[in-house]
């Protein structure tokens, strides 16, 4: 399948007696939003760690654009085009929004070992960073330090930094967390356009948002994927209803 951008094959990881990830396989295809849902403690964070390279698997492989990246570090994976956002906003606090995005662009270009040329004079880098900020709607806040941005603005800056990497795929970890109704609606609209840049693997708690956005959904329970399918298939799946939807979102 040429359309598969990211693929997990038989990923396993346990911590002591706890099996956090149990034989997980899934694919992310070009142009789609693939949502990963599951109750608290289902192993979503571990799975994100396995994909991004922060956690090493006990077994299984990760493939990105036809290449086995299982043995690579977080930074190496990022350079190959795996862009992630964090569940809790993780930015360079003392840098302005613009400098945060410029840093991501600089990392993407792979030139961090330049010692003498001031970044502030690099018009190309600045221009690109401003375009990206404009795309997520943060242009007016470009010169504000990340530490002083509002919660919603920081979520957007996370996405802007991911976007700056021009990645093969996006790994978004609860991007809607704490956004409120209006913010979530705006972000859903934005992600609809973003998925044409690169497919999105989305971990999200907000079920309404997931059902509006996702092309496919995988349900993770106790470290295992119990079902993968379209929104309608997942809604209708009896195993999912008992294991997950039955608890908090019964119709």
């Amino acid at each position: 399948m040429a359309d598969v951008v990211l693929e997990l094959r038989g990923m396993c990881r346990s911590f002591g007696a706890l099996t956090a990830t149990d034989d997980v396989s899934l694919t992310l295809q070009r142009g789609e939003v693939h949502a990963l849902i599951g109750p608290n403690g289902a192993g979503k964070s571990t799975l994100m760690g396995l994909i991004s390279g922060k956690i090493a698997p006990d077994a299984g492989n990760v493939w990105l654009a036809g290449r086995d990246i299982t043995g690579l570090s977080v930074a190496q994976r990022a350079r190959l085009g795996l862009a992630r956002s964090f569940q809790v906003s993780s930015l360079i606090a003392e840098y302005s929004a613009l400098r945060n995005v410029m840093l991501a662009l600089q990392a993407r270009q792979g030139h961090s070992y330049r010692f003498l040329r001031p970044v502030a004079l690099d018009r190309g880098l600045q221009g690109q960073a401003r375009e990206i900020l404009a795309r997520v709607g943060l242009a007016p806040r470009a010169s504000v330090e990340a530490a002083f941005l509002g919660h919603g603005e920081r979520r957007l800056l996370e996405i802007a930094m991911a976007l700056a990497l021009s990645p093969q795929c996006f790994l978004l970890d609860e991007p809607m967390a704490g956004l409120g109704v209006e913010g979530t609606a705006q972000l859903v609209t934005f992600l609809h356009t973003l998925k044409h840049d690169a497919p999105i693997l989305l971990v999200e708690h907000d079920m309404d948002a997931v059902f509006r956005l996702a092309d496919r959904i995988s349900v993770l329970v106790y470290g295992r994927i119990i079902a993968t399918g379209t929104v309608d298939e997942i809604r209708a799946n009896p195993a999912v209803r008992t294991a997950y939807l039955g608890e908090e979102a019964a119709p």
Partner: protein, 325 residues
């Protein structure tokens, strides 16, 4: 005046004062003051070096005296062999500052590469302690090495030479130190503003985020550590020529502490922080050292006050919090 302008004004004042005071002393024939200013300049170079690792990279090395000592011993050993006319490692000794500086930077850079590569596997307090451990090893090694003086230290009988200047005249030596300091400061400023500095400071604040956008913290930090060690090593070679004496005390853990103190007093990560800090430290030593033999007590109290209440050091006090735009 906004903070950035105030910082530049302070920097200019510091740069001018460090030149004007010994210039006046030269006219007034006060060689002691010129020598003090030279000491400030050389300590400042060492601290600029440490400031790359500590200020920009957040790498609290409690062992930078190691590089100071290595630089010092390179100068001392080269000079001794030049004096005796004996070869060292198959090469002739030299009494020229420029090649000595180059060797001092190469050797300290190489040592910093090894120490850094091993130490950067740890973080936090463990990093502090492992850098201290390596410096202590160097200290005891120098202490035990009878060929070059051991605990008695190694005198430099003739000060090394610099083309076109007479290094035996205090003013000429000061001009050399001041010139090197200015070059070091310009390089530091460029480094900080360049992509490398952007990456390094980002890693200090949030290494996970830096890795997630594809910047490997290890390589950047190691490079910063090596550059930092090289510059401090250079300062060590110059310090040896100033005092015409090298001893294991240059590598003592208290010396590492003093280098950190200089940066704290001046302002962590600030361009002229090391200059301000070195001036304060030497000033303290001279003025309070003249008044009371217990000047270190007062230094301790001031240091404690700075740590507790004035975290930006002198530059921070004048120019507020650092901004990276």
């Amino acid at each position: 005046m906004d903070n950035a302008r105030r910082e530049w004004a302070l920097n200019a004042v510091l740069a001018l004062a460090l030149f004007a005071v010994p210039a006046w002393a030269w006219v007034a024939n006060e060689p002691f003051i010129i020598t003090l200013a030279t000491r400030v300049a050389i300590l400042a170079i060492a601290a600029v070096g440490l400031n790359i690792a500590l200020g920009l990279g957040g790498l609290v090395s409690f062992g930078h005296a190691l590089y100071l000592g290595i630089g010092g011993y390179v100068a001392g050993i080269a000079a001794q062999h030049a004096f005796n006319g004996t070869p060292v490692l198959g090469l002739p000794g030299t009494n020229q500052m420029l090649p000595i500086w180059a060797i001092a930077m190469l050797v300290s850079g190489a040592v910093a590469a090894v120490v850094g590569a091993l130490s950067l596997r740890t973080s936090g307090i463990f990093f502090i302690m492992i850098t201290l451990a390596f410096a202590q090893m160097g200290f005891f090694f120098a202490l035990s090495w009878p060929a070059y003086g051991g605990e008695d230290g190694l005198p430099i009988f003739m000060r090394n030479h610099f083309p076109g200047l007479n290094t035996n005249r205090p003013w000429d030596l000061f001009v050399i130190a001041y010139g090197v300091l200015m070059v070091a400061l310009v390089l530091f400023a460029l480094l900080r503003a360049a992509r490398f500095g952007a990456a390094l400071m980002a890693i200090r604040q949030n290494p996970d985020r830096a890795a997630a956008i594809g910047i490997s913290p290890f390589g950047i930090r190691l490079t910063a550590f090596i550059l930092s060690g090289m510059l401090t090593g250079l300062a060590g070679a110059m310090m040896a020529d100033l005092t015409r004496f090298v001893s294991p005390a240059m590598m003592a853990w208290t010396m590492s502490g003093e280098l950190i103190v200089i940066i704290i007093l001046g302002g962590v990560g600030r361009l002229f922080g090391p200059v301000a800090g070195a001036a304060i430290l030497v000033g303290f030593e001279v003025f309070f050292g003249g008044l009371t033999e217990h000047w270190k007590l007062w230094l301790g109290l001031v240091l404690l006050a700075v740590v507790l209440f004035a975290r930006g050091g002198l530059v921070g006090l004048v120019a507020g919090r650092a901004r990276h735009g």
